[in-house]
Structures are given as structure tokens and as C-alpha cells.
């Protein structure tokens, strides 16, 4: 079974990701098992998807607006965001919006061209699960979460920016 990284550990991937084939039609949904469907498929087949057995997830393309899925989040066990290339940073903004604006608390999975060198950034944007691109060694990639021990900015992982945490650690004596 293929593996993913979940909560900084290698884990089995129990989900089947359904992507459209070249002809742009919606892929067939297997009758059982956990599936992650595209936003378009969710919007087209909501009732059928909810009626089937097995858990449901949705994946967003880099061009999808997370606002369009915000009201439906309660139906999903996983939300995934696709990176056609790791240098397409749109997925990072989508992740932060899902976490910080639309309140998504469940698994947020990065899929597509995900390499170890972006794990530190992506986890700070709120991803807690990563389906690495083919050929990447998940076990070896785990150390990338610790590439840096600190960061200046606000993030999903640490909403307080460094300057506020620093100030809390050593309050100014006036």
C-alpha cells in the first residue's frame, strides 16, 4: 500500500484519490472504500456521494476557491489541495484560508508535486498530511519538518508571530 506522511509520521494511505482522465469526464466512483473526489465531482454528484458507504474527502485544484467548499466541510473526513508543481504557491493560500477562515479542523492533505523541500512551508500553512510525489522517500523526508527551529511570521502551526512570542517570553520592564 502506498504511504503518506501524517502528523509527521509515515502512515498507510487508505484513501483513493479520484482524478479525471484526459477526456475531462468525472471518474467512476467505486461503491465502497474511502475516496477523495474533486470539487467539481462533489458539486455534480453530492447526493450520490453522500449515499454511498465509505468515507468521503474532497480535493481542490490550485484554481479552486476554498469559499466554494466552506459550507460543505462537515461532509468530509479529508480535504486535499493539489500542487501541479511545487512552485505553484496558490495551494498555500488555499490551505491557510481553509484553516484560518473556514475553520477546517480535519486532515488537510497536500497532493501532487510535493517534495520534501517544501514540507516545512506547507506544514506552517496548515497541512498535516502529505502524499509525496512518486520517488520521494517518505521516511527520509521526515527530517525536513525540522529544517528550521524558528520562524518569524504568523502561521497555522504557530498563530503568534515570533515577535509576540519573544515579547511574552521576556516582557519589557518599564
Amino acid at each position: 500500500m502506498a504511504v503518506i506522511i501524517k502528523n509527521r509520521q509515515v502512515a498507510n494511505n487508505t484513501w483513493q484519490l479520484l482524478r479525471a482522465g484526459g477526456e475531462q469526464t468525472l471518474p467512476a466512483v467505486p461503491p465502497t472504500g474511502d475516496v477523495i473526489v474533486s470539487l467539481a465531482q462533489w458539486q455534480a454528484q453530492k447526493e450520490a456521494l453522500l449515499a454511498r458507504g465509505g468515507r468521503l474527502g474532497v480535493w481542490l485544484a490550485n484554481t479552486d476557491d476554498p469559499a466554494n467548499v466552506a459550507a460543505d466541510l462537515k461532509h468530509f473526513a479529508v480535504v486535499a489541495v493539489d500542487f501541479p508543481h511545487f512552485t505553484d504557491g496558490r495551494g498555500s493560500s488555499i490551505a491557510r484560508l481553509l484553516r484560518e477562515r473556514y475553520g477546517w479542523q480535519g486532515e488537510l492533505r497536500a497532493i501532487g508535486d510535493v517534495i520534501r523541500d517544501v514540507l516545512f512551508y506547507l506544514s506552517r500553512c496548515g497541512f498535516d498530511a502529505f502524499e509525496l510525489k512518486t520517488g520521494e522517500d517518505a521516511q527520509a523526508a521526515l527530517s525536513a519538518f525540522d529544517d528550521f527551529s524558528e520562524a518569524y511570521q504568523t502561521s497555522v502551526e504557530r498563530p503568534q508571530p515570533l515577535f509576540r512570542r519573544r515579547a511574552a517570553a521576556s516582557p519589557v520592564v518599564s
Partner: protein, 566 residues
């Protein structure tokens, strides 16, 4: 000079380790060329015409003497004993070996320097007025804000992979010396009527293929909101900026295509969510950053006792240099001094390792151990006692760094061009040299007066040709190098883009065309006070065009060929 604390240092050290590992994986084949490329670019490493080019950040242009000595060390040990200061207050080395770069980074980290985000589609080095903190016309000292932005932009998790590069510039003075209107974001620091600091925010300016002057999207942004507002601007850009065509991917195109008013509304809508959030700046943080800056311990000096004016009266050469290369200072008895890196025969912005060491010594002796790099590719000693000027000048002369041409035609801004850069259509350095040779006579140069001449080797416009009073752009015509001349550009408060004069000319003809532009200017100016740019504005481009190409004047050779090819 901002001094790192333990965390700042640790982050830079961890970057060295990260890049060392990435380089190792690339060299052993486990990281592909395609995947390594964007990673190395975010560390300033290009693969260029002959070798990798390595760009090191000089945050907002500030260097301590110990840092300049480290650059000299790097130049000797891993390069060819010289470096090139770029138009973005960075330094570039043209001949490093890829496998040496991790060690070069480690050396840099040991003096609180790095190459973080000096290239790639991310937030680049923030640039500032090179007279920040000392300029007599300064309203707000912008340095604290520069450092706050440096920290916010370093490894920002959401904006590491933008559609395209993103450049921020800040000015806190009446006269904009940081070209803020031609940056992705330009910030003008100012006070409101209650004495609170804030920023006028320009967005969507830029040079390159589609030069655009930035639009003001916020007249006054109170300082507390600086980072949340920048987050909002960047988020709108990251989500909606074009990624289908790299030539249309800068924020200026997004602003233009969505219309500035609509873009502003999108930013405001995003900001409504972020405003007053945890990234809102606090007085405590601004104070903390401010205290980590070393500030010169100025003495109380009597400017009249400096002897500087007397020396200028005795020595004509010193007087010329003092007039051109010495600048006013907000503290009585001090001056800022520009070390010209524009000596004829030397590529603009190039400095040898020996010069770096010597300048570091001069900085220690005369300017509190600090110096700056200007976007005009010169070095600046910002805090020199006026009584030391004559002595300093004598030493600079020996080093070849006292060319008295600041603000003059030969203070040419030029990119590395086709001699080094793989993007360039044409060479820049020999063109700069041929122009400098033609205008080498100082009396003639001074008679011409203030004039900015900028050269770019291609449309990427690293040499800022659009905002030169005279701009020279290298173009490729059927495989041959030609140059398009424009006039009427201007940087600063009255930023303007130059207009193309006419068909492009060969390299050999460039000095002659510049000469004709100058002849017409000298003939048409109403007094010595009327600068070249003023005359272009008053009489327009047509008389210049006529004088260069028109009727009774010989057409530049090769012209017909380009017209036919166009």
C-alpha cells in the same frame, strides 16, 4: 546596522545546513535538476553563461566593515577576486563553483549575512534610500521598517512560491532615492497630522518588458498594520496573479488587468480579515528592533572649523569631488560620501577584493565601521566628519574610487549584460565604457550637468534604462546586438518612463548618438540651471529625434536594415 540576536543567527545557520543538504542531494543525483533549480534560485544561485552566478543579499544596502572583509575573503577564496554590486543593493559573484556555495554561505552566516530569496519567485531583498538615517530631507527614518520587513519576508510560508519575483522599496525622505514608484510595492514613510508614522502604499510599479509607474492604493497605512496589509496584498497576488505566462506574471499586470480600483477593493476585503490579527505590530517590537541597530555616536562638531571649505578653495580637484560626491548630513559637521564605482575602464559596480578590504579600513577609520550600497551601484560612507574629507579623498583617489561623477552622465547604471548574463540580448559593459571614454573630460562633463544614463542588456531592465534621463537598451536584431535609445525617463518623486527616440543603433554608434543628444541639449537649454531632463520635458522628444536621425544629419549606418526587420 542591525545586529542579529540568537534566533536571527540560528535561522540563517539552519538555512546553510538546509542548502548544504540540497546541494549534496543534487550532486549525488537524488534531487533532480528541475527540482533543484527553484530551490537554488531562492538562494541566489543562477546557472549563467560561464558559471553559476551567486547573489548575496545586502539587506537594504547596509554593510559593516567586517562584512565587507568577508566578501573580500569570499572573492579571493572562491571567485576571481572581485564582486559586482547590483542595482538592488546586492552583490554578485560570477565565478563560484556550485559545490563551494555551501561553504560560502557558512562564511556569510558567520558575519550575519545570507543569500536568502535573492532570486526566484519570492519576496526579494527590500531596498531603501541609501541616505536613510542621515539625509537632511528625511521625514521618517525607514531603517526599523526595513528590518521588520526583512524578517517578515524571510521564509514567509505562504509567499515562498509567488507567480513571479516581488520587490519592495521604502523611502522616508522628501526626495525619493529608492525608486519606490517602480517597485511591486513602494512604501513612502510619513507622518499624519497627529504625528503618527504610516506609509503611503504604491503597488504595481515596475520596469521590465511592461514598464509601469505604481498606483497609490492607500494614502496612509498606520505602521501597526504594515505586515497585515502586506499579507493582504501578497495573498491577493499569490492567488490571482497570472502563472500562465512569465512575462505577465508580475503584480503590475494583475493590477492593470483587474483595474487598480478593483485590486484595491480586493486587498481591502482580504485585509478586513487580517487587520488587527496577531501580525499587527506592537510598539514593543518596533522598539526592540530599533535598539538592535547600532547608531553612530556623533560628536558635537563645528562645521565651520572643519577646514573643508578652505581645502576646496585651494584644490580644484578636491573641490570637484566635494561638489559631486559629498552629500549633506542631518548632523552638523558630518557628510555622506559616495565612492564612485564608475571609473572609466571598470565595469559599473565592480569592486576588487583589495578595494573591498581598503574600503572596509576606510569605513572603520572615517565612518563608524559601516557603509552602504546604493541602487546606483556605488558605495557610500554615510557618517564622515567634514574635517576628514580631504584626507579621505586623497586615499580614495589612490584606490581609484574618487571619480567625481555622481549625478553626472558617466555615473552609469548598467547590468552585467551579455558578457555574463545568459538572459541578455546585448553587452552592457563595453557600451558603458565607450560612453565614459567619450565624456571623460571633466569640464565638459560638469558643463552638461546632472544627467542619469542607464543601460540594460535586455528587456528585463536590470539596468533601469526606462528611468534614465537617457536610457540604453540592448536588443537583438537578426542575431546582432543593437541598442535602442530612449530619453525623458526619471527616477524619484517625478518618476517617468523614457520614450524611445527611434530605430536602434549599433554599439559603435551609441556614443555618437549620446553626443548628439548632448549637443542639442547644450544648444537649447536656457541656462546652466536647466538640466537635460528639463529640456526634454520643455521641448519634447521631437527636436532630439530630428537632430539624431533627421534630414541633413547622416543617418546612423545600419538603420535601414532594422527598419526593414521591424
Amino acid at each position: 546596522m542591525y545586529i542579529y540576536d540568537e534566533i536571527d543567527q540560528r535561522i540563517v545557520d539552519e538555512r546553510v545546513a538546509q542548502f548544504r543538504d540540497q546541494t549534496r542531494r543534487f550532486l549525488d543525483g537524488s534531487l533532480s535538476d528541475d527540482d533543484f533549480r527553484p530551490l537554488r534560485l531562492q538562494n541566489g544561485l543562477y546557472i549563467q553563461r560561464f558559471a553559476p552566478m551567486f547573489r548575496i543579499a545586502i539587506p537594504y544596502g547596509f554593510l559593516a566593515s567586517r562584512q565587507l572583509r568577508a566578501l573580500a575573503y569570499i572573492a579571493r577564496k572562491w571567485d576571481r577576486s572581485y564582486g559586482h554590486f547590483s542595482t538592488r543593493q546586492n552583490i554578485q559573484f560570477n565565478w563560484p563553483k556550485l559545490e563551494d556555495v555551501p561553504d560560502m554561505l557558512a562564511k556569510l552566516a558567520s558575519v550575519q549575512m545570507h543569500a536568502i530569496q535573492t532570486s526566484g519567485n519570492c519576496i526579494r531583498n527590500t531596498t531603501v534610500d541609501h541616505f536613510a538615517g542621515v539625509a537632511p530631507d528625511e521625514i521618517v527614518d525607514p531603517l526599523v521598517w526595513c528590518e521588520i520587513i526583512r524578517q517578515w519576508s524571510a521564509f514567509h510560508p505562504e509567499f515562498a512560491y509567488l507567480p513571479r519575483k516581488f520587490k519592495i522599496a521604502i523611502s522616508g525622505a522628501e526626495n525619493d532615492r529608492a525608486a519606490i514608484q517602480v517597485h511591486d510595492v513602494g512604501l513612502q514613510a510619513q507622518y499624519d497630522d497627529k504625528g503618527n508614522v504610516g506609509f503611503r502604499v504604491y503597488v504595481g510599479g515596475g520596469l521590465g518588458r511592461t514598464p509601469i509607474i505604481g498606483t497609490v492604493i492607500r494614502e496612509f497605512l498606520p505602521w501597526q498594520h504594515l505586515l497585515t496589509y502586506l499579507d493582504a496584498v501578497l495573498r491577493v497576488y499569490n492567488r490571482h496573479g497570472r502563472r500562465d505566462n512569465k512575462y505577465k506574471a508580475r503584480i503590475k499586470i494583475l493590477v492593470k488587468e483587474t483595474k487598480p480600483e478593483v485590486f484595491r477593493a480586493q486587498v481591502e476585503a482580504e485585509w478586513a480579515h487580517l487587520k488587527d490579527g496577531p501580525a499587527t505590530l506592537t510598539e514593543q517590537e518596533v522598539e526592540r528592533i530599533g535598539k538592535r541597530f547600532t547608531r553612530p555616536a556623533y560628536q558635537k562638531l563645528d562645521p565651520l572649523a572643519s577646514g573643508y571649505v578652505l581645502a576646496a578653495g585651494r584644490d580644484k580637484a578636491f573641490a570637484s569631488w566635494a561638489r559631486r560626491n559629498v552629500h549633506g548630513h542631518k548632523v552638523a559637521g558630518y557628510a555622506a560620501v559616495t565612492l564612485s564605482l564608475k571609473k572609466t575602464g571598470i565595469a559599473p559596480g565592480d569592486v576588487t577584493a583589495d578595494q573591498m578590504d581598503a574600503v572596509a579600513d576606510l569605513a572603520d577609520r572615517y565612518s563608524f565601521g559601516e557603509l552602504r550600497v546604493s541602487h546606483e551601484q556605488n558605495l557610500i560612507l554615510a557618517d564622515v566628519r567634514q574635517s576628514d574629507l580631504f584626507e579621505l579623498w586623497q586615499q580614495l583617489r589612490e584606490l581609484g574610487l574618487a571619480t567625481p561623477n555622481i549625478g553626472m552622465l558617466t555615473n552609469i547604471i548598467a547590468c552585467p549584460g551579455g558578457d555574463f548574463c545568459s538572459l541578455a540580448n546585448a553587452k552592457s559593459i563595453p557600451v558603458a565604457d565607450s560612453i565614459q571614454q567619450r565624456f571623460d573630460d571633466l569640464d565638459y562633463l560638469y558643463d552638461i550637468g546632472e544627467l542619469d544614463l542607464n543601460i540594460s542588456g535586455c528587456m528585463n531592465s536590470c539596468g533601469h534604462h526606462h528611468v534614465g534621463h537617457i536610457g540604453v537598451l540592448g536588443v537583438d536584431k537578426q542575431g546582432a546586438e543593437f541598442y535602442q535609445i530612449s530619453i525623458g525617463g526619471n527616477q524619484g518623486n517625478n518618476a517617468a518612463l523614457g520614450k524611445v527616440l527611434g530605430p536602434s543603433v549599433s554599439q559603435a554608434e551609441v556614443p555618437e548618438v549620446i553626443g548628439k543628444l548632448i549637443d542639442l541639449y547644450l544648444a537649447r537649454r536656457d541656462s546652466e540651471a536647466e538640466r537635460f531632463i528639463d529640456v526634454v520635458r520643455r521641448i519634447g522628444i521631437e527636436p532630439f529625434k530630428e537632430h539624431v536621425y533627421g534630414g541633413h544629419h547622416k543617418k546612423p549606418a545600419g538603420r535601414e536594415q532594422h527598419v526593414a526587420a521591424a
